[in-house]
Amino acid sequence: MHRTGELYGQFQTLEQQKESATLGMWVFLITEILFFGGLFMAYTVNRHAFPTAFGVSGNMLDLNLGFFNTIVLIASSFTMAMSVWSAQTSRKKAVPAWLIATLILGSAFLGIKVVEYKQKFDHHLIPGYHFDITYCSNNPGACGLSGKELDDEKKEIKEGIEAEANEAKKRGAPNPEEVGLTALNAHAQLYFSLYFGMTGLHALHMIIGAGLLLWLIFEGLKGRFDANYNTPVENIGLYWHFVDIVWIFLFPLLYLINRHLA
């Protein structure tokens, strides 16, 4: 059965019906806030415990790609908002057009994310047996590192190893100078586990959002959304903006907060 915006029996007015839909969507988004909130909590606690390793690791992300992706995602939120406006003002042809723009921007975000993940894979920054935080400073050619960038990274890793060794010494480890690198690698893996976990879950939300957008585009092309009926556009819009908000926090927390030390 196709919904077209008529009043259902359980509601007294169309406004009430609409408001219920918005309210329901927000209740779902709150469960999402708490869902991501747990990961942000894990990040905060681990960062508090291992500031050195998190700082060194965070500076290994590609700031330019992260910055560009932030711009792309914010732009996609704008196009999404415009599709809602088009529906509310019965511009039936503009609805799918703005939605297609949103889908293109969302796909661009995911594409750039793939490039970033591939880069981390090549740089031995995937947590596991082959993880090696020193890979790029030892093989600068393979990572395209040179000049000041390479010197900075070497210096940061050296300082990181020293900081971890000091920490080990304080805890009475019998061999503090030997464990510095092991500890740095161990704690950097925590960072990258959180990086992949958080950005991965965010990307999964984007993929689901892209699927929803496809459906909206398909229905929008049939001219289904107008001033009378646009609840799906509005609610999927709310979801899309929520995913944007998650990235608004992921970007500074993962990419930025140690740049001043670099």
């Binding site: 408001e19 988004l29 509310q88 003002t89 903006h241 929520f242 500074p252």
Partner: protein, 119 residues
């Protein structure tokens, strides 16, 4: 019983918010490169919270939604705050060493097998 719920936000406002979000993104990147010590994180999060507020109020129509919806939105952040505040109250007031080792014991930090055998 319900105030007229459909408030249409104009493209002009959307464009203004878009511009503000883009400016915020550029500012946060440049601010991150200046050494402000512990204030770097404070500034980064302040900008992020501001951007989030703009998205919720305008893109998500939070400013124009019914009071009941506003209450629901606020409650979500309230529950998030409970988790963050209570958890941090624990971790930031514990002695550093046990917190560190409980979170992630480093295998190499334990004495080598030979040393263990002699104990």
């Amino acid at each position: 019983m319900s105030e007229h719920s459909e408030h249409i936000v104009s493209p002009k406002i959307y464009a203004t918010i878009l511009a503000a979000l883009l400016v915020g993104t550029v500012v946060t990147v440049y601010a991150a490169k200046i050494d402000l010590g512990r204030w770097n994180i404070v500034l980064a999060l302040t900008i992020a919270v501001t951007k989030m507020t703009l998205v919720i109020l305008f893109f998500m129509h939070g400013k124009y939604s019914a009071r009941r919806t506003k209450l629901i939105i606020a409650s979500g952040f309230f529950w998030l705050a409970i988790m963050l505040v209570l958890t941090l109250a624990d971790y930031t007031t514990r002695h550093a060493e046990p917190s560190r080792s409980q979170l992630c014991p480093v295998p190499a930090l334990t004495a080598p097998a030979s040393a263990a055998a002699s104990v």
